[in-house]
């Protein structure tokens, strides 16, 4: 099939820069599965903070996990957000999974807003949560094994998710370069078609400048 015909209508089309389709299910499903693992770990810690379970399992640092989950910092966050911080983390990981599942296998072109929302949930929030977990050793003075596991998962999710976000941002950048129109970029962001967006997407698929 000629590249032009393939790029115009097919959904599962590789992007030249990566050599694969960053919105393909084989790229997104592992992200969703890993995010759900982190979600269940965070829910487990939230259940301890709600006192639905009497203890928090930690095979490495022993009682330090409880010290972290019951720390002043944790209580202060609960005072701000009205729910345990682990529940907030669980919500963020569930967001990764839900936003990872939503959209077609060409959503980087057809719904850039969804990819960028997914990217905001995964990348900045993931990095911030990982930094906060590492800082807990210095601020709280205790380490939490399950928090460290979720921090590692966050960083893996960042690595797995960046390609799709990159392609969507590059699409918007190319539309801007072609039109210098904020309105066209804005419409492309929200998934509205235009000649410039179609051409930019084709360039990304074919790897032309």
């Amino acid at each position: 099939m000629p590249a032009n015909a393939r790029s115009s209508r097919s959904l599962d089309v590789p992007v030249a820069r990566f050599g694969y389709n960053p919105s393909a299910w084989r790229q997104r499903i592992p992200i969703c599965i890993l995010a759900m693992v982190a979600f269940f770990i965070a829910v487990y810690m939230a259940l301890y903070q709600w006192r639905f379970i009497p203890d928090a399992w930690d095979p490495v640092f022993g009682d330090q996990t409880r010290a972290v989950l019951d720390s002043d910092v944790s209580h202060r966050m609960q005072r701000w957000f009205r729910i345990p911080d682990a529940a907030l983390g669980a919500f963020a990981y569930l967001g990764d999974a839900v936003l990872g599942l939503a959209g077609s296998t060409r959503r980087w072109q057809y719904r850039p807003w969804m990819v960028i929302l997914f990217g905001i949930d995964v990348i900045p929030l993931g990095i911030v949560s990982a930094v906060l977990v590492v800082l807990q050793g210095t601020v709280v003075g205790s380490w939490c094994f399950l928090c460290l596991v979720t921090a590692v998962i966050s960083l893996i999710l960042v690595y797995w998710a960046y390609d799709e976000v990159w392609v969507s941002l590059e699409l918007l950048w190319r539309v801007w370069q072609k039109t210098h129109s904020v309105a066209t970029v804005w419409r492309t962001f929200w998934g509205r078609p235009s000649r410039a967006a179609a051409e930019a997407a084709r360039e990304l698929i074919e790897g032309t400048a």
Binding site: R82, I83, V98, G103, P193
Partner: protein, 116 residues
């Protein structure tokens, strides 16, 4: 349409949650708030199945915002009911932004005549 189904399931949870989180105070008020919110969510989610009102699910964002605000304005420590409102509001906020036909390209792209 899976997102709309999840919204209806959350509306059902909200409708029965006064039974789960029984409180001595303000039981009638709690029932009224939760049933009204659940009814609105269910109506908006169901309306999204009808093509002329396919974007009705976006109105659920307002309902979820109200639920979150109600929970956040509660006195500290928050009751289980308040925390339930915040969590259900957050979940609805997440689900309500997902388009009904998310796994297909938008209709405007499907009908767009791409340049050759």
């Amino acid at each position: 349409m899976w997102a709309r189904v999840v919204e209806i399931m959350l509306a059902c949870w909200l409708a029965v949650s006064p039974l789960v989180f029984r409180q001595a105070e303000a039981t009638a008020t709690l029932w009224a708030i939760d049933l009204a919110a659940a009814a609105l969510i269910a109506v908006f989610a169901l309306a999204s199945f009808w093509p002329p009102t396919r974007h009705a699910h976006l109105a659920i964002i307002a309902v979820s915002g109200a639920l979150i605000a109600a929970g956040m304005m509660s006195p500290y420590p928050p009751s289980p009911t308040d925390q339930n409102h915040i969590l259900v509001g957050l979940l609805l906020l997440l689900i309500a932004v997902v388009p009904s036909d998310a796994s297909r390209p938008p209709a405007s792209w499907e009908s767009f005549d791409e340049p050759s």
